[in-house]
Amino acid sequence: MRRSNSTPSQSQMSRRLLLTAAGAVSLGAALSACGGGDGGGSASSSSKPVSQADIDTAMKKPTELTFWTWVPDIDQEVALFEKKYPAIKVKVVNAGQGVQHYTKLRTAIKAGSGAPDVAQMEYQAIPTFTITDSLLDLNPYGAAKLKDTFVDWTWGQVSGPKGEIWAIPQDTGPMGMLYRADIFEKHGIEPPKTWDDFAAAARKLHKADPEVYLTNLAGNEAAAWHGLLWQAGAKPYATSGKGNVSIDVDDTISKKLATYWGGLAQEGVIGVEPDFTDAWFSALNKGKYATWITAAWGPVFLAGSAKSTAGKWRAAPLPQWDTSKPSSGNWGGSTSAVIKQSKNPIAAAVFAQFLNSDPASAKLFNTKQSFFPATKPLLEDPSFTGAAAPFYGGQKVNQAFADIGETVSPDFQWPPFLDQAVTDWTETVGTALTRKKDAVAALDAWQSRLTTYAKAQGFTVKAP
């Protein structure tokens, strides 16, 4: 699905529970002391498997699940589930997309009532919700059986350190490059295989036609920056145990990226305008940008928003830092997570699993919503990979991105306070790119702001 940034989270400490002099009260105790906050049911993190008999009983009991999602037309996938389990009714609620949705979700969780049973959740948002112990571990509900159904790196994204399974992957966004074959041809540019080639092409193209830029790097798109970090093999965040976090957003790999992109921005050979705005859509339509560095959901999105350029685009992998080890990052895509307060943990867990792993339902996400699949069977399905896309001159774009998906590293971690990381990036690195200032210095500012925030929130911050 689309990009987004930001996710909320909250501390589940009951406000009525003032801290005793003895120090912190364990979250479990706080939860049980917080009247009305405890969802009841068997929603504990202990990996005690739920028996098949219990599952069967629960799935025959008339139940209404609430599902918060922004996915359009998801009723069709939900109908498949309701057909299989007639006793269960799912109420689909659109609580906004991305930030809005997370804000409402966090508020409801904090209030102790009104949270949904299941919620749409992007990969990068998961740690922000697990730090507050808001998600149900799906491992006891048989989710581990699905490990081999899903692409390896997605499973890494939804798994916790102790084997918890926090959510079930729904769609993905491995990053690639969409480029205008006609502009490349006109100026004798080959699709760049390395970032060095890319920089050379950017200079050449802009010199040849000052109206055109090779690409646009948006100063408000932290998600894309993180994807590029991911590709370059950076490990900006790591969490260990509760309350220990290492923040390393200005390490050598990040500095390499900042030097590279900041340099191109200062030379004025790439665009730096915000993305997903009217002006940006116009720019893509009018050929101001010859490439769009995007994710696997990009091809369909672009075909819908730049109709006037149909047939001129092609898809390719991202340029590489090291061609002997092709790699990519991920931007976007989401999962289904069960909220710990759910009063129907079994039904909710089964729903989250069915929705995303049932072959018919998973395929529908691709054919109906044009999501890029997260399941291996679908990525190997010839009817999916063999589809020729007229907007891309008949190229098999799905195959191209399925191959890219193989190169996404499984061990990229997100911080437990994503919103802050995103905002701080936009106000430091993003602004430096937009204003053609020193992006490397901005990285240091980003690092120090995030560190200050994490310390203020009670984290023990490991300096790199």
Partner: protein, 312 residues
């Protein structure tokens, strides 16, 4: 500034013996009953959230380590917070320039409409008022498009004329662009208030002025303007309060100018970001109260100056 009408408890005199309603209500008790629905809502929807926010502002909740009572610590932080100061200073500067301009425009329109010299007065009145009926979200999105540096109409036009396009969404122009949006949105609203006040001036005054030989300008200066004083004061107060709470417009222009409008661009935007981005709900509550205090001081200053001028 809420004007509540106090229900009269005076009993009308009646002829004949007064009957006491037995077990019923004394007539004097009817007033509070009529006010009760308002009072209940006022308590629930206004005072209770305020009280809760005040309570929250005395605590500090962390992601790790939970909640703790910190007294006035959040307020001390807010006083020293350069980001908050920057936001308050920015909206204060904004209002000092934008509010007088907007009210002068509204006044000019109201006087012109009231003079009866305009043709199609109704159409014009509606035309000036219509922007106020446009939700500010829609208005901002519309202006954001018009301001666009690449494909916006202004940019296109100046390109056609061979002029450099003004960078409306750049650092220097942004306050002007915002002021323009706010003025466009609210000039009609203020005009209607002033115009309505003008309609209540008794005809006799105009007749008397005419008898004394006053022309249209003199009438406007000596009769209409003094009659407008209360309405002007009201619009001024509303505008001052509104300016301090500037939020929608910068929030919505943020996506098109993320490098100019940061999360602390205005004080209200800062309070919002603290709560919903940084999850610092407690500090956000303190910042909101601090902002409320600034607004109260400013509003009283406006009233004080206006009253002093009236008595002098």
């Amino acid at each position: 500034m809420t004007a509540t009408t106090v229900a009269s408890t005076e009993e009308p005199r009646r002829a004949g013996p007064r009957r006491r309603p037995r077990g019923g209500l004394r007539q004097g008790a009817a007033g509070p009953l009529f006010v009760a629905p308002f009072m209940v809502l006022f308590l629930l929807m206004f005072l209770a959230p305020l009280g809760y926010a005040a309570y929250l502002s005395l605590f500090r909740e962390k992601l790790i380590g939970g909640n703790a009572f910190v007294g006035l610590d959040n307020y001390v932080t807010a006083l020293k917070d350069p980001l908050l100061r920057q936001g308050v200073t920015r909206v204060a500067t904004f209002l000092v320039i934008q509010v007088p301009l907007m009210l002068l425009l509204a006044l000019a329109f109201a006087l012109a409409l009231d003079s009866g010299l305009l043709r199609l007065a109704r159409v014009i009145r509606l035309g000036i008022f219509v922007p106020y009926a446009v939700p500010s979200v829609v208005a901002t999105l519309m202006w954001g498009y018009l301001y666009g540096p690449d494909f916006g109409p202004f940019a296109q036009l100046s390109e056609k004329l061979g002029l450099p396009a003004p960078h409306f969404l750049g650092d220097g122009w942004m306050p002007v662009s915002l002021a323009n949006i706010v003025t466009w949105e609210f000039v009609g609203y203020n005009m209607i208030i002033l115009y309505a006040a003008l309609r209540t001036v008794p005809q006799e005054l105009y007749e008397a002025a005419a008898m004394d030989g006053a022309g249209a300008w003199r009438t406007a200066w000596s009769i209409k303007l003094p009659a407008l004083r209360p309405a002007l004061l009201l619009t001024l107060l509303f505008s001052v309060i509104g300016s301090f709470q500037l939020f929608n417009e910068p929030k919505l222009l943020q996506p098109v100018a993320p490098d100019v409008i940061d999360n602390a661009y205005t004080a209200n935007l800062y309070a919002y970001s603290l709560a919903f981005t940084g999850q610092q709900v407690n500090y956000s509550a303190a910042v909101s109260f601090f902002l409320g205090l600034v607004i109260v001081i400013f509003s009283y200053a406006v009233l004080f100056i206006a009253n002093r001028r009236r008595t002098s």
